[in-house]
């Protein structure tokens, strides 16, 4: 007597449809709202009746808001995916994309760039990316060897790296003058306001990385059984782990170099979707990508329209994310 199982493919399509729709709504509101006011009607005109559009509003929407919304989507998707992958690889629900020291390295690189006087692009971005990859390599080589990197060593190495970089960051902040200090703080709290249209093509690099992770969804499921069981079921644990680590860190490095350190997205979004969609990564990965994108667009929207003036988006994600996480913990108690 066959056991009825819901068709995975159907569920996947439904999920993509729903979260895709959510994302579209978020994009619309992201473009229609800003610090200069709400213009949903004008956005409508811009898209459908171009001749009647006002050039200044067009400039605001396409040249100022659109790059931000695209970056918010890319960053939200990447960070959520990063959190998901690290939580599975390290089998630790508190894992998030910065846990291997990427955030520390990126911050040190970015602050150095700011102290020296580089512009946001390309100087500070490049140094941030370089810093993140450097710390990643250090942590990997610490935990590496002939075998797949041991998860406990990775975690410890990452935490230590972040702590060390934290000290360096404090040092750099102490040496900074007031103006540089404020710039640095904005970067450290996540800042989507620096992006312009010229930097957007860089984000295309994220797409093949995301596709690769999606391809590795089933091995990621199997890794949850433990390394040996996964290997016994045909997974090349070392190759899969290293690939996932490297690809995810690369994506996160790119996002951090453009947007600074936005926290709580990678930690909270995967848990929310696990509650909604279940533990199968073949569903979780598309959900986190689309849902994470929509979530960060919404947070950035809030950050932009505050009457007191724009806040770094990282503050909004923290203010929403931390209580949300506590709520999830409370719900999950035995």
């Amino acid at each position: 007597m066959p056991v009825p199982l819901p068709s995975l493919l159907k569920t996947m399509l439904l999920l993509i449809l729903l979260s895709g729709a959510l994302l579209l709504v978020a994009v619309f509101f992201g473009l229609a709202t800003g610090s200069s006011g709400l213009n949903p009607g004008e956005l409508w005109t811009l898209i459908f009746r171009r001749e009647q559009a006002d050039p200044v509003t067009a400039a605001i929407i396409w040249q100022i808001r659109l790059p931000r919304v695209v970056l918010a989507a890319a960053a939200g998707a990447t960070l959520a995916l990063g959190g998901l992958v690290f939580q599975a690889l390290l089998r630790n629900p508190l894992a998030e994309p910065y846990i291997l020291g990427i955030s520390g390295g990126a911050a040190v690189g970015a602050l150095l760039g700011m102290m020296v006087g580089f512009a946001s692009f390309p100087g500070v971005s490049l140094l941030a990316f370089a810093g993140s990859m450097a710390t990643l390599l250090l942590v990997l080589s610490l935990a590496g060897g002939r075998h797949a990197p041991g998860k406990d060593t990775l975690l410890l190495g990452g935490v230590m790296m972040n702590a060390f970089c934290g000290a360096l960051i404090m040092l750099l902040l102490a040496l900074a003058d007031n103006t540089r200090l404020r710039h640095a703080l904005f970067w450290l709290m996540g800042d989507l306001s620096q992006i312009g249209r010229e930097q957007l093509p860089l984000l295309l690099l994220l797409l093949p990385a995301m596709a690769l992770v999606l391809l590795l969804a089933r091995p990621l499921n199997l890794l949850l059984l433990g390394r040996e069981s996964a290997a016994a079921m045909g997974v090349n644990v070392r190759a899969v782990s290293l690939t996932l680590l490297a690809v995810t860190s690369f994506m996160v490095g790119i996002v951090v170099s453009q947007a600074g350190l936005i926290g709580f997205v990678g930690l909270v979004v995967p848990h929310v979707f696990r509650l909604l969609v279940g533990p199968d990564h073949r569903l979780l990965i598309p959900a986190c990508l689309l849902g994470g994108a929509a979530y960060l667009i919404a947070c950035d929207l809030i950050a932009r329209v505050l009457p007191a003036g724009e806040m770094p988006v990282g503050i909004v994600t923290a203010l929403i994310g931390a209580p949300l996480f506590i709520f999830l913990l409370w719900k999950a108690r035995p």
């Binding site: 610090s35 200044v56 067009a58 040249q63 512009a119 404020r182 710039h183 306001s193 932009r304 724009e310």
Partner: protein, 306 residues
């Protein structure tokens, strides 16, 4: 694809529209950038409180549409629309005001914002005054740009008159006291030779205790006790502390000459923070505090202490 076409169309139309209604001219700003701006700007946004002060002084506040957060002088400036802060201007709010000219400072405004404004075909005229001579030059430049050359000339002339008078008075002094000028608390920060405050101290007849180091050197009490400044001037917002707290921190060291002689003074930060003509008011206050005897015949311009 369609979006690109729209943008190309709009970008090509914009300057053409500008040309038709508003003839432009090309001026090189004090930072060396060649800027094409309207001959008669009508919608101006300022990215620094000092620039806003100057605009009001040039009597061109009617064309000022937006300014940064702490633009508080003159009081009427507080009613101007805010477009973010000096360190983090809000691009969208600026663009929404449809300015035909933005006035910026190189020191402080992020270069990124200036680049993006220019990418949106909004001309940005930047000043970067580091000393009194450059402040005068900036005043003249802004006067030209805003078609207020007469007012600018008057301001510069006033500055020169007062400077000349001060030089005359301080030419005859015998003793230049050692002055410690404190701009921040916890940690204590003073001003080095690369700042315009240093220039003011010298003009006011003093010697800068913090000369010979970086622009904003830090000091501990040990160094102060060794230096033994004769006069201490503290700006009012140093470290966010009240004038009483700032003074009390000094008065716990009765070994200091400045403390013994009651020459620890707190001054209004706004007069010393901004590179504008009002520095002259600050300068006269400084002179009064550093060389009280020679300044007696000079009328007081503003409250010396708070």
């Amino acid at each position: 694809m369609k979006i690109t076409l729209i943008l190309l169309l709009l970008c090509s139309l914009w300057p053409a529209a500008a040309d038709a209604q508003n003839p432009t001219r090309e001026i090189t700003d004090p930072t060396g950038r060649s800027v094409t701006l309207p001959a008669t700007p009508r919608r101006v946004v300022s990215l620094a409180p000092g620039i806003t002060e100057i605009i009001f002084a040039l009597e061109r506040e009617d064309i000022l549409l937006g300014t940064t957060q702490f633009s508080n002088y003159p009081p009427a400036a507080q009613k101007i629309t805010r477009i973010g802060s000096y360190v983090h201007p809000d691009l969208e709010r600026i663009v929404a005001l449809r300015p035909d000219l933005v006035l910026a400072t190189r020191d402080g405004n992020p270069r990124r914002v200036i680049e993006r404004l220019e990418a949106l075909q909004i001309p940005v005229f930047a000043i970067d005054p580091r000393n009194l001579a450059e402040i005068k030059a900036s005043l003249s430049a802004l006067g030209t740009v805003l078609n207020a050359e007469a007012q600018a000339a008057a301001l510069v002339a006033d500055m020169e008159t007062r400077l000349a008078r001060l030089r005359q008075l301080t030419a005859r002094i015998e003793h230049r006291p050692l002055v410690f000028f404190q701009v921040d608390a916890a940690p204590m920060v003073s001003v080095g030779e690369e700042t315009f405050l240093h220039e003011l101290i010298i003009l006011a007849g003093g010697r800068n205790a913090a000369a010979g180091g970086p622009a904003y050197p830090r000091f501990g009490w040990e160094q102060i006790l060794t230096l033994q400044p004769e006069v201490t001037i503290i700006t009012s917002m140093a470290g966010g502390q009240s004038p009483e707290e700032l003074r009390r921190a000094w008065e716990q060291w009765p070994q200091l000459k400045a403390v013994q002689n009651g020459r620890v003074h707190v001054v209004d930060a706004d007069l010393f923070d901004r590179p504008t003509h009002r520095l002259l008011d600050g300068l006269e206050i400084l002179a009064r505090l550093i060389q009280p005897q020679i300044m007696a015949p000079v009328p007081a311009a503003a409250e010396p202490e708070r």
